[in-house]
Amino acid sequence: MDLQFWIWTAVGISFSIYIGIAIWSRASSTSEFYVAGTGVSPIANGMATAADWMSAASFISMAGLISFMGYDGSVYLMGWTGGYVLLALLLAPYLRKFGKFTVPDFIGDRYYSNIARVVAVFCALIVSFTYIAGQMRGVGVVFSRYLEVDINTGVYIGMAIVLFYAVLGGMKGITYTQVAQYCVLIFAYMLPAIFISFMMTGNLIPQIGFGSEGQDGVYLLDKLDGLHRELGFTEYTSGNKSTLDLLFMMSALMVGTAGLPHVIVRFFTVKKVSDARKSAGWALLFIAVLYTTAPAVAVFSRTNFIQTVNNQIYSNLPEWFDKWESTGLIKFDDKNQDGIVKYVSDSSLNELTVDADIMTLANPEIAQLPNWVIGIMAAGALAAALSTAAGLLLVISSSVSHDLIKRIINPSVSEKNELIAARVSAFGAVIMAGYFGINPPGFVAATVALAFGLAAASFFPAIVLGIFYKRMNKEGVISGMIVGILLMLFYMTKFKFGWFGGGTQSDWWFGISPEGFGTVAMITNFLTSFIVSKYTKAPPANISKLVENIRTPSMDES
């Protein structure tokens, strides 16, 4: 059977499943629309969270990113998983006990202030919009690579699908489609990884395989370190970045992960507090399956790639090289005209430019897997992009219909009208996300890092202080969030977009990269909150009761 047939079949079947689930799980109340009626089992919520969390970038770019960064890539692996420990221990159970619908709900009520609520809504919208633009673009890119359609057509198809199940089913529809999407994406990721591990090391488990010996009896990592030395790169298992920058980057990613609103709201959907803890554990377990496989894939494909192309005669290279060269992901420039490919660190001699995404996308071909596997990979990449986009859409729509309309503009709105408002704003959000997908702002990649920094600089301190520090008042938290976010925006726009006079790496404060600066902004937020709250009035007595209440388990739960 030919490749296009398998790809359309896999994508067609998986999309029909999502639409079927959407029709079956229509939302009929605001509680079902915002938090799936709080009836989701911990394991199902764990899977949904994992799909929500792992975006097109995790699926397609993660392994490539690590294969080019080597040891330095570890901060992404630890940062994006370690955040779940913070989430499970410091945030999720208490927010579930609080028991409302959104993150601004908590901040507005705990800090008895609609200004705090509006600041929180504003942060949630910025974080989610910067994130979703990249996702819709991802849907378009996956379509165009696998299905050979125009990127824009891909974005339209993606918009139509997300519109259907997010608007119809709300959180309930999103949750159960995400469960299906997790199964599709993890199967699609593991299958080629297992094949390649077996091919290169004789071990079926990639996590063990990349610490084993290759066919020539040399440990794979030793061989890769050797190849790197030969070609003039830093050893794969050591890094380039400063220790301080690594520490700051990792903590910004961890804290940002724990503060992302579309991840936090997933824990509002389970039945009880103990389920919120349990489901964070399941979520991390399901995420860890992919995140521990990615570094193995990175090592396999990098070793394989260097051995296959470096010092080889150009005209003898395998077929997949031609194919990906025609997409522009691999570029060969024969500088010395000898017809031999040179891949080295020295840029005046190097003849090969490689896009990181190739490390995942070309895997099935490098490993000579059958065409149906490539079909499943396409469905998996789409599942990853769609599930994340849908989760973000829900945060945007609930911020508008619930936090702004219901809680501030018109508190007397009926449930029926609020549900209509929720659907209309979900519709509006899809259109806007689609617009950004078709006309991507040039800084999509930079803004995803910005989203983490912003979440770290705003939500994380506000929520943690709200739970663990009773004396924290509205003055402290509002000024902390504003200072944190502005500082973060300033640093990112200065060094990423060249605003405020711009600057280069040598101008970084204390040598900290914009990706790591979220940590500094977060610390500044904490300090500002403490200092301001010390010199302003303590919160009213009923707030102290509210905090007591979220700290203790309720009696009616079994």
Partner: protein, 82 residues
């Protein structure tokens, strides 16, 4: 047989212990002590590199499930009394 205060104090104690381990395996083994640990080799893995790309993640998963277990036990004690 425990009070609200005692319940909260026990919770904070668990958090302190578990988050110290969280910090040790990631910031500690994965970054700060990575060069020292890299002197030790287990099969093809340098130990520091292994913690940074595998070990820390496994420990994270275990930490959450240990917390689930500890808190379920604590919840039970709390409810017995009340």
């Amino acid at each position: 047989m425990i009070s609200k205060d005692k319940y909260w104090k026990m919770n904070l104690k668990y958090l302190l212990i578990l988050l110290s381990i969280w910090f040790l395996v990631s910031f500690g083994f994965g970054i700060l002590f990575v060069d020292t640990l890299n002197q030790i080799k287990v099969k093809g893995f340098k130990l520091g590199f292994w913690f940074a790309q595998q070990g820390a993640i496994y420990v994270f998963v275990i930490l959450i499930f240990v917390y689930v277990f500890l808190m379920n036990r604590l919840d039970k004690k709390f409810k017995e009394k009340n």
